[in-house]
């Protein structure tokens, strides 16, 4: 077995998480809360160290740097949500961010969608392309809910599309299984080789 503090720390934490599989226990609970606490602390600390501190130290004092105070004040307004009577000010940063994001969607998404549509205009000389078009149109037909009595052709197309989507989701599920096993394998490999010393 390895004596390195790093390896032992990792191993004990890994075992604490895995212990949840048997039943809920204090080691698991402590590790779970450690996980959330570290993640939250890391995000904030990193943002301060790598972004806010350089901005306050370099950008704000520079000539014309007063403009940086505007977004800093805007972002700070979000915290008024915790002050009764002043919480309406938090709407300003939210409104601007959501509006900005909506602008991004309108500015950049159409071209991507058009690319998807033009990519669907395939040469129908091959069976594969015909099948692709059938699956695509069937997929669209699956999501038509606005007509109360769907015509027979639309219902049939919807059924075909549903099968196409089920195949797609089945493939995604297969990928998900292997993805999770790969992640687990990494930690088991660490326990077996680095901690217990097998295969060294």
């Amino acid at each position: 077995m390895s004596g390195w503090p790093a390896v032992w720390t990792g191993a004990l934490l890994t075992l604490a998480v895995l212990s949840y599989l048997y039943q809920d226990n204090p080691a698991w609970r402590i590790t779970e809360h450690l996980y959330v606490g570290l993640a939250a602390g890391y995000g904030l600390g990193y943002t301060w160290q790598n972004y806010l501190r350089p901005v306050l130290e370099n950008q704000v004092p520079a000539p014309g740097g007063w403009i940086w105070l505007l977004p800093l004040v805007l972002g700070a307004l979000l915290y008024t949500r915790y002050i009764p009577g002043w919480d309406w000010l938090a709407r300003f940063p939210l409104g601007i961010w959501i509006g900005y994001g909506a602008g991004y969607v309108l500015a950049y998404l159409p071209r991507v969608v058009i690319g998807q549509v033009t990519g669907s205009m395939v040469d129908l000389a091959s069976l594969t392309n015909i099948a692709l078009l059938v699956c695509l149109l069937g997929g669209f037909a699956t999501f038509v809910f606005t007509l109360p009595d769907r015509p027979g052709a639309l219902r049939t197309a919807g059924r075909v599309g549903r099968y196409a989507i089920l195949i797609a989701l089945g493939v995604a599920f297969g990928g998900a299984v292997l993805y999770r096993f790969t992640l687990l394998y990494g930690q088991v490999h660490f326990l077996v080789h680095d901690w217990l010393g097998f295969g060294r």
């Binding site: 370099n58 950049y108 991507v112 690319g115 990928g175 292997l178 077996v192």
Partner: protein
């Protein structure tokens, strides 16, 4: 109690034990399976091969510690291949974790290439993470230095770094290739802001769960290549002659696949033989 009844009421911890056994066996005796390269992985390899010495490659990393096991070998293989081609590599991150992961993987790859081990700021740079990372990525298509506040991931100034001076804007004129390594939707901003408007070829290194989601973009030409999961990473390692890290994962995942299929078949058999337990 009959066997079928026992299996119908099987404590799930026996299944968990099976998972542990499968992963331990896979760890100690990993089957060696060398997969044949798929067209998508070969396309990724060809894209990197086409990068001329000194050509710019922008790599956007979105995954965190939870997905490191599957994507670190893939990232290392691609970085190693690009370094062997003499490409100039610019790393950026979509989350704080990703920037540290990028630093760790690139530093370990750089140890094999003197020009990269001693060439930070010339052959490669880690721009790190910025809040609202997709906005920063879009801003990089107008000016990388300004978008990242003229500092890299460790707070060093970008001014004077030859890689940033020579590759000032994220566009087709300066960059031959852009990569997104992601475990969620990190590929989307690359397509929206870099691939489609700037026409930089975009390749994605994705977890196996995400590969189906990327197929429409690949088919429409909005993505140039996809490396998918542990298998894709193993294929890329074999193509590019990089050290084998992902190959072991493929063998282990083979055992996992067999186990899950046996469990699914058993569950269905038990349910149908036992009269359809709810």
């Amino acid at each position: 109690m009959t066997l079928i009844a026992r299996l119908q009421h099987l404590d799930r911890r026996w299944l968990y034990l099976g998972v542990l056994v499968v992963t331990v066996v896979g760890s100690i005796w990993p089957p060696r399976i060398v997969p044949r390269p798929s067209p998508a992985t070969r396309a990724a390899y060809d894209l990197a091969q086409a990068v001329p010495p000194g050509g710019g490659v922008f790599i956007y990393i979105e995954y965190g510690l939870g997905s490191s096991e599957e994507l670190d070998p893939m990232l290392a293989a691609v970085l190693g291949h690009l370094a062997s081609r003499g490409a100039r590599i610019m790393l950026a991150a979509r989350s704080p974790e990703s920037s540290q992961i990028a630093e760790r993987v690139m530093t370990s790859v750089a140890r094999r290439f003197p020009a990269y081990e001693n060439g930070y700021g010339q052959t490669w740079v880690n721009l790190g993470y910025r809040p609202a990372p997709d906005v920063a990525l879009r801003a990089a298509t107008s000016g990388i230095g300004a978008a990242y506040n003229q500092v890299d991931y460790a707070g060093n100034t970008l001014r004077g770094m030859s890689i940033v001076d020579d590759l000032p804007v994220l566009d087709r004129r300066h960059f031959d290739l852009a990569y997104a390594f992601d475990s969620g939707d990190g590929f989307a901003p690359m397509i929206y802001y870099v691939g489609t408007p700037m026409r930089v070829p975009v390749a994605v290194g994705a977890i196996s769960m995400e590969v189906p989601v990327l197929q429409p973009y690949l088919a429409a030409g909005q993505l140039a290549a996809v490396i998918g999961g542990a298998r894709g990473a193993a294929e890329y390692e074999a193509l590019a002659g990089q050290p084998e890290q992902a190959n072991v994962l493929v063998g282990a995942s083979a055992l996992a696949a067999v186990y899950v299929l046996v469990v699914m078949a058993l569950g269905n058999a038990v349910a149908h033989l036992g009269g359809g337990r709810r």
